[in-house]
Symmetry: C2
Subunit: 452 residues, 2 copies
């Protein structure tokens, strides 16, 4: 039966690509207030497509900003229920002049579909619609209960989604979730993303004298805020890349030997070449890949104070500011880590200066699902069958807030099944998506839905 | 005879203030190319005044930018020759709206003469002219040979003066120099400035990846340039304010117990109050005043890299830049210190990043004259007699390049006899000069010239 379902997708490929073309033509740029109508059109497209393939419950739900599409299909309450998440909003397309073809006029060149949203995330959302359609049209039903949430604010922080998920917990509740809003570590390399990092951060300012001072008349009498800031930052992480903030590693779930093997087995970027750095630098005892995927980080994102112009200005500046964020791993609590950072800064501030701290209000716990979890095993098998290659299992150093929220609110596993490739140029001009992955991805999804 | 000379100055006070009024009305703003005519007028004023009081040789010398006034009076080649230095150019007067009276319409209020240049340096230059006039008119001659150099580019870096002094060494050569372009540490406190700091500097940039990176995807694989910069800076000076650059203190002339007593005896600013700092911080083993006046410093004047906007941007920035300057004391060679800084930076750069260094081309050696030098002793005595108060002896943490050049080119002592006060608001709106200091300063100069 699976083969017939997959055959349906192949037979109707042209119709599907035509429909996707319509979807991609809608300029659903969520950050641009003049595109409100396009946002509604894109949401309507998704709702109508779902109704068209047999979802009786498929509706647009207004939020304080952009609407989300909710749909539901209950086959048998006793069966498993999946929550499919995706987003129909896209990044702005400018600078337009760097696009080879128009961003909202989808074009195929050398097997790739070029358009804003082709990969992130309309193209991948649409693959789920096709998989669902193929099952409905071939077997007359879906193999499990399905809830669908396609939002319109992912590119601007999903500010209304988190609230909605918490307030309408029952409406969105499911046994597991599936998200295709990510990619594969290399073209043709099935990739199971089974963990994401959390984060927390803060900004702090070291203040010395009440204005910039003449470095000759006052140098030697006052603490230089820039030097005080350097001492403070240097006290937070040593040159072995080990964070020295007391308690920082206390709750870190250690990397198992099995996970370290998985991470080393995944093909990875040659950092030295792609980034033009003399060498990689990672926490002592861990490789760059292990540190990036599985160990917490502390990074200075911005640092400034004093004179920035040409030449020399001999001042002692009145203040220095640093912006810090940490990427967290399972076990670490963002609020606790933020407090440890505050404590460290306050207790390590040199004499002669004052420090003020602004805590970053957004934070997230890390997400991780056991790579041996039956859902993950099933995902990898479906993936491998379609792409004819063994899947790799990786954790990502980045954060996908919605995944962390689903984990936090519903306590259900999230299957991250992404089909993008490193060449997709998300958020940049000439975004594209390989049609091969469109086809094989749909096969993967059909196989997964029918076997899970 | 001295008393008669001083009496001359008193008797002709109104005429002198009228002449000074004319001098101050000339808008000799050296930085403003539209004021070229005013520059020539100011130079002419000085030349004509000198001719009027009996200088046969008094001329305007053109330079590549603004002219300088040179005058010469040879009484007897066997006698001592003094070189009097000053400048007739002034800082721009804007913002005009913050002036209580017009900057180029001199006004007396509560014993102070308000005008741009009243203190820095036309007012003080004019005091020398009056002292010379009083001696000439009273005794028919000057008590020593005099050379005068009043330039027009002090406020813009004296770019042509240094070259002229070197090229025409014989023309300007003297046995000692006198400069009144500074002030007293407190109103009514005769202040002998017997030392200035030298300086050197550089700017350096720590470069990591070839563009800003996503802190989640790359954090743990690359060295963060901002953190590398913090480690580098922290390695250069510890929290005891001791510079850790190897060899930095090697040639430093130590502070004698006598000098430390002089420095402690001078009234000084209450830094905590005036600067609003929790406490002063100085090199371990030295007080703030001792460090500022007599010990070398290393200061970060500017530091920047990464995101500086509102909120959070989770990047690892591609680079970080710092601007450094050192104030040097006698014994230290600016070029050697600059090389030590370069060596330190290069040898302490953490792995994984590259560093590029831009050496600041301007540098200066420190200047110091023995506080027991007969010229200095004479200056303090003349000062004390006029102001009826014991003089304090201080060194200044700042640099006055012309003093360091005179020292370097002519190897002669420079007497820094300044009559400005901390309330003069040099370079700011409402610049002023106390008329009391105009009177007592002229007395001091007369006494000095006639006794030296």
């Amino acid at each position: 039966m699976i083969e017939q379902v997959k055959q349906y997708a192949k037979t109707h490929r042209d119709a599907h690509l035509n429909a996707l073309d319509q979807f991609l033509r809608i300029e659903s740029v969520s950050t641009d207030p003049t595109h409100q109508e396009a946002m509604t059109s894109a949401a309507s497209f998704v709702r109508d497509y779902l109704r068209g393939i047999g979802f009786d419950t498929a509706r647009i739900e207004e939020t304080a900003k952009h609407p989300l599409v909710f749909a539901e299909y209950v086959k048998d309450p006793a069966l498993k229920t999946v929550l499919i998440y995706g987003h129909y909003d896209v990044q702005p397309a400018d600078p337009y002049e760097l696009w080879t073809s128009e961003p909202f006029e989808p074009t195929v060149r050398e097997g790739r579909l070029y358009a804003r949203g082709a990969s992130d995330d309309k193209g991948q959302v649409f693959m789920h619609l096709v998989a669902l359609e193929a099952m409905m049209k071939t077997t007359g039903e879906l193999p499990l209960n399905v809830k669908i949430c396609i939002e319109g604010e992912e590119e601007i922080g999903s500010e209304n989604l988190y609230q909605r998920l918490r307030e309408k917990k029952d409406q969105f509740d499911a046994d597991f979730a599936i998200v295709s809003d990510s990619g594969m570590v290399a073209e043709d390399q099935p990739t199971i993303l089974y963990g994401l990092k959390g984060f927390t951060g803060l900004e702090f300012t070291v203040t010395g004298p009440n204005n910039d001072l003449h470095s000759g008349l006052y140098g030697g009498a006052v603490r230089n805020p820039l030097m005080a800031m350097s001492h403070l930052l240097a006290s937070m992480k040593d040159t072995d890349e080990i964070v020295k903030v007391e308690g920082f590693y206390e709750d870190v779930e250690p990397l198992t030997e099995f996970e370290r093997q998985l991470m080393q087995a995944a093909p990875s970027e040659n950092y030295q070449t792609t980034l033009n750095i003399p060498e990689t630098v990672s926490e002592k005892g861990y490789s760059a890949v292990e540190h990036t995927m599985g160990r917490p980080t502390l990074e200075v994102n911005g640092l400034f104070g004093g004179y920035q112009g040409e030449g020399t200005k001999t001042i002692i500046p009145e203040k220095a500011t640093a912006k810090l964020t940490c990427r967290l791993v399972p076990g670490q609590d963002p609020e606790k880590i933020q407090q440890l950072l505050v404590d460290h800064i306050e207790s390590h501030t040199p004499t002669g200066v004052r420090v003020t701290i602004k805590r970053e209000p957004l934070s997230a716990k890390a997400y991780k699902v056991d790579p041996d979890h039956p859902l993950i095993v099933q995902a990898s098998q479906s993936y491998e069958k379609a792409f004819n290659k063994t899947a790799v299992f990786v954790r990502m150093g980045g954060s996908i807030p919605v995944v962390e929220w689903i984990d936090d609110i519903f306590k259900i596993p999230v299957v991250l099944l992404g089909f993008g490739t490193p060449s997709d140029r998300l958020h940049s001009p000439n975004e594209s998506f390989p049609l091969k992955n469109f086809d094989l991805g749909i096969e993967t999804l059909i196989d997964f839905y029918m076997n899970v």
